[in-house]
Each structure stands twice: as C-alpha cells, then as structure tokens.
C-alpha cells in the first residue's frame, strides 16, 4: 500500500509537469490550429534562462524563475511573429514539420548555452525530502504539485473571466466571428505562444530541479505529446487529465513492472505513455475530452 501511495505521489508530480507542457500544446492548437512540436525545445531554452539568471548572475531563485518565464514568453511571441505568422493558411502537416525543426533548433541552442555538463538551477529544494509517516516525498515533488495547481488555477481563471482570455476562447471557436468583434486574432496567436513558452519554462524548472538541467529532461518532455493526445488535442481539461494519466502510468510502471512484466526490460516506463495513448485511441479516437476532428497528420 505504501509503495502504491508513494508511486501515486511521484506520478502526480511528474504528471503535473507533463500537464503544463501539454497545456501549452493545446493552447497553441486551439487558438491557431498549429500542431506545435516545439514544447520541449521551449522548455530547454526556458530552463537555460533560469539557470543563467540564478547561477551565473546569482539572482535569487524566484527572481530568476520569474525573469526566465517572462523572457521565454517574449521569445515565444517573437517565434510566433517571424516563423508561424507567415505560415497562416499553409497545410497543417507542413507547419507541424516546421515546428519540429524549431524544436531541434531551440534544443541545440539551449544546450549549447547551458553546456554539456548538468547544470544546477539553484532551486531551494535540492534533493531534500519530506517524511510523511512512512512516505517519503521529495520537497521538489511537493513544490511541483503546489506550483502546478496554482499556475493551472490562474490560467483557468484567466480563460474564464478575463477579457483577453474570453477573446482567446472566442477565437478558438470561430475565428472570423472573433475578428468581427474587433478581436486581434494575431495578438491571440502571440499570447498563445507566450503562454506555452512560459508554461514550458515552469515545467523545465521542475523537471530540472534537484537533479539539474540536462539532455534527459528534453527527452522526457516529449512524453507531453501523448499526454495531449490522450486528453484530446483541443481540450484544456484534457491536457491536465492526460498529463496526470501519463505521469501516473509511468510511476506505476516504474514501481510494478519489473515485478510483474519483467521481460519488458529496465526502461519500459519511457514507452508506457504511448501504450496508454494507443489504448485510449482505440476507444476514443479524439482522446478523452477531444471533440473536433483534427486534420490528419
């Protein structure tokens, strides 16, 4: 039982990170119908900025985090403006491939800046743990969960009540009608990229907290894609649920697979997200909460 609870907590913490990344993907997709595979690259670059501000400039970690988020958001806006805007109206598949290129570029640039060695984020959690009875929760996992709940909560409030959040939802439903109401759809696209880049930065910080930022976190971030598909590409609650499902599936795989399905080897947890996605798609072709038919990629 303890093992199960332990895995559940780990799973929720990782799932929260996938959820942040998947949210960025879904927000971009909903507002501009662009399938963006650049989330992990945005994450690496975002994490770099936080490393830079906190360990090179030696700023307070929280200040570094906020600066990193803002700078990443600004970069997101620039990327949208120069790379994606000219692609409006171009085939979905071509634009998606373009974002794969963007992802590679961002990743390469990010690691070039960070350097090959693992870099500490200067975060306050390190590898410390909280002892809750017999459960051992890393302080980093606890912080991840708390921070994700706050960030997602603020984001949902933004979409629900703010003028611009409403404009973004309106644009997602019917672009022409949104334009007719005086909404600048171009600005909606830009803000979608800013939000996605900001979320990716937060995700990168929590993936890299404690152990440090390295190439490994980029590989893990890619599992936010099956999370988005599981939830439904056009669903914000779906991104959250999908992220948590993938996080939990991984944690349970790590905890139990060696015991029950040992022949699958040591690292099957890295593939489990895709297994879950396969099963979900058999039952629900558009994901758990997805509705719209997505053009075939």
């Amino acid at each position: 039982m303890n093992e199960f609870l332990q895995a559940t907590i780990n799973g929720i913490a990782t799932g929260a990170i996938y959820a942040l990344l998947a949210l960025g993907f879904v927000i971009i997709y909903k507002s501009s119908q662009v399938l963006s595979f650049a989330q992990s690259g945005l994450m690496i670059l975002g994490a770099f900025w936080v490393v830079y501000f906190s360990t090179v400039l030696e700023l307070n970690f929280w200040v570094a985090l906020i600066l990193g988020i803002l700078l990443s958001a600004a970069i997101g806006i620039v990327i949208e403006r120069i790379m994606l805007r000219p692609m409006v109206g171009k085939p979905v598949f071509s634009v998606a491939i373009l974002t794969i290129g963007l992802n590679i570029a961002l990743t390469v640039i990010g690691f070039d800046l960070i350097g090959v060695q693992i870099r500490s984020l200067g975060d306050p959690w390190g590898i410390a743990v909280l002892q809750l009875g017999e459960l051992v929760v890393s302080r980093k996992d606890a912080a991840t969960i708390v921070a994700s709940v706050i960030v997602v909560g603020l984001l949902l409030l933004f979409f629900r009540y703010s003028r611009f959040g409403l404009a973004m939802r309106a644009t997602a439903i019917d672009q022409e009608t949104a334009l007719a109401q005086g909404i600048s759809v171009a600005r909606v696209f830009a803000v979608a990229w800013a939000i996605a880049a900001g979320l990716a930065t937060i995700a990168g910080v929590f993936l890299g907290a404690g152990t440090g930022v390295s190439a490994a976190i980029g590989v893990r971030a890619i599992r936010a894609l099956p999370a988005a598909v599981i939830g439904g590409l056009d669903s914000i609650p779906g991104a959250i649920v999908g992220g948590l499902i993938v996080g939990l599936a991984e944690a349970y795989t790590v905890a139990y697979q060696a015991e029950y399905l040992g022949f699958l080897g040591q690292n099957f947890s890295t593939a489990i997200a895709y297994v879950v996605m396969f099963v979900v798609l058999l039952v629900r072709p558009y994901g758990i909460f997805g509705t719209r038919e997505v053009e075939r990629v």
Partner: protein, 262 residues
C-alpha cells in the same frame, strides 16, 4: 459618413465578384442593400469590415472611407474601433458560451463602456436579459439573431452592418427584428441593411440600392424603389395587378420563365 467608392473585389485572385460598387451610408440613416442570391451583398460587407482576408478575397480597386478617411487597408479590429461593426449572416453566436459571455466578447474593443452597453442591449432585448446565463446554442433562431445584433452593439458602433437579419425567421419575428432595427437606428446608429426580404428592408430604409452580379443596378430613395415597377416585379414579388407576395425562389423561377418566353 460611410462611403464605398468604386469597389472591386476578387476572390482567390481570379473570381471577380464586385465590379465597381459605389454608395454611401450617412450618419444616423438606414440604407438597404438588396439583391438576389450570389449578387455580392455579403462580399460588400466583408470588404467594409475587413473580413475578406478570411475568405481569400482582396480589394483590387476602390476605397472604403469613414468621414473621408480610407479604412479598407485596416485590420478588422481597427475598423471596429472606427465605429463599423458587422453582424454576420447566419447569426454566428458562440454556441457554447452563455448569452452574457457572447455579449462580453462583443465588448472586446470597448471595455470601458461594457456595463452601459450591456444595460442598453438588455433594454432593447429583454429576452436576452432573461436568458443571460443560458448557453447561446440553445436559444431559438430569433433569440440568436437578437444576440448577434446585441453583441454587435456592444462595440458602440456608429455604423452597424446587418447581413440578412430576417433570414429563416417566421413573419412575426421578422416584424420584431424590423422594429428593433428601427429602434437601434432611432438611438443614433446608422444601419446598412442587407436583405433578401426587400419589403421589410424598404419599409424602414431611407435609401435603397439594388445589386445584380457585382454591380449596383438601381439607386433610389426607398419609397421610390417600393413603387418602381421593375422592383415590384423582380424584388418584391408583386405582380402589376395582383399584390400577392412571393418568395425569392418563385421570383427566380419567374425570371427564368420570363427569359425563356421572351
């Protein structure tokens, strides 16, 4: 004054749809733009409100001006800010939003007057106030038309462009929409009314224009259009002697038959 001068519009770089259209909408007036299916009425409205881009359309000649200043190169958001708002054909309410959310979206360009405008819209359309928390997709056709018009008013337009507001509504509702247009206009908003229901439109408009395949073929005070024999025959569906009203489909058949016979 809203002016359309010698407007030429092409879709997909090849399909010439407007071939030199000129007319104007003075402040505070109702102007009717009439014509059969496919004449290009909606295209005129898109050219004014900046929505041609969405349909791969381009203005290849001519201008649209507000108070003498060209607006046809502006983005839709800037055009709304100049006081020109279009209520699109087919209502186009945000079906999954509540009535109130739809109206809030309409206030996007004008958040400072949101509460005043909301009050004004609820006064004009009490039914929307009653249904403010309802999901817009579940409203009746007439209510959705009112919501679309109310949403348009949330931007405090000087010029409201209405595209077939009576489309698909029962006669009683058409009367109601007509009275509402008159009231909106009485409160100071000029209206460019695109209609297939020519009788309704001409009964409230000051001036009317008639379009055929991308050109204006008639331009007269509404009262004169009403009594013009050709208009009666082709657009109002009145026979010289009869006075029985016909639907547009009948008129098309009638026109075709006339062509065959002559």
């Amino acid at each position: 004054m809203l002016e359309v001068a010698n407007l030429e519009v092409v879709y997909h770089d090849v399909i010439l749809v407007l071939r030199g259209i000129s007319f104007n909408v003075p402040d505070g007036k109702i102007v009717a733009l009439l014509g059969a299916n496919g004449a290009g009425k909606t295209t005129v409205l898109r050219a004014i409100s900046g929505l041609l881009d969405v349909h791969q359309g381009d203005i290849t000649k001519g201008e649209v001006r507000v108070d003498g200043e060209p607006i046809h190169k502006l983005k839709p958001a800037s055009i709304v800010n100049r006081g020109v708002t279009q209520v699109m054909e087919g209502r186009r309410v945000f079906a999954e939003f509540t009535v109130e959310e739809n109206l809030r979206v309409g206030a996007h360009s004008n958040p400072g007057h949101r509460d005043d405008n909301l009050e004004r819209v609820f006064e004009l359309f009490p039914i929307l106030k009653e249904r403010r928390k309802r999901t817009a997709g579940y409203l009746s056709g007439g209510e959705q038309q009112m919501l679309a018009m109310g949403r348009g008013l949330m931007s405090s337009p000087r010029f409201l462009l209405l595209d077939e507001p009576s489309l698909g509504l029962a006669p009683l509702l058409v009367q109601q929409i007509r009275d509402l247009i008159v009231e909106i206009n009485r409160q100071g908003t000029a209206i460019l009314l695109v209609e297939q229901n020519a009788t309704m439109a001409l009964s409230i408009a000051e001036h009317g224009y008639i379009m055929e395949t991308g050109k204006l073929v008639m331009d007269k005070p509404a009262a004169e259009l009403m009594s013009d024999e050709d208009v009666q025959e082709f657009y109002l569906g009145l026979h010289a002697g009869g006075g029985e009203r016909k639907s547009f489909r009948d008129i098309k058949h009638y026109k075709r038959r006339k062509r065959w016979l002559s």
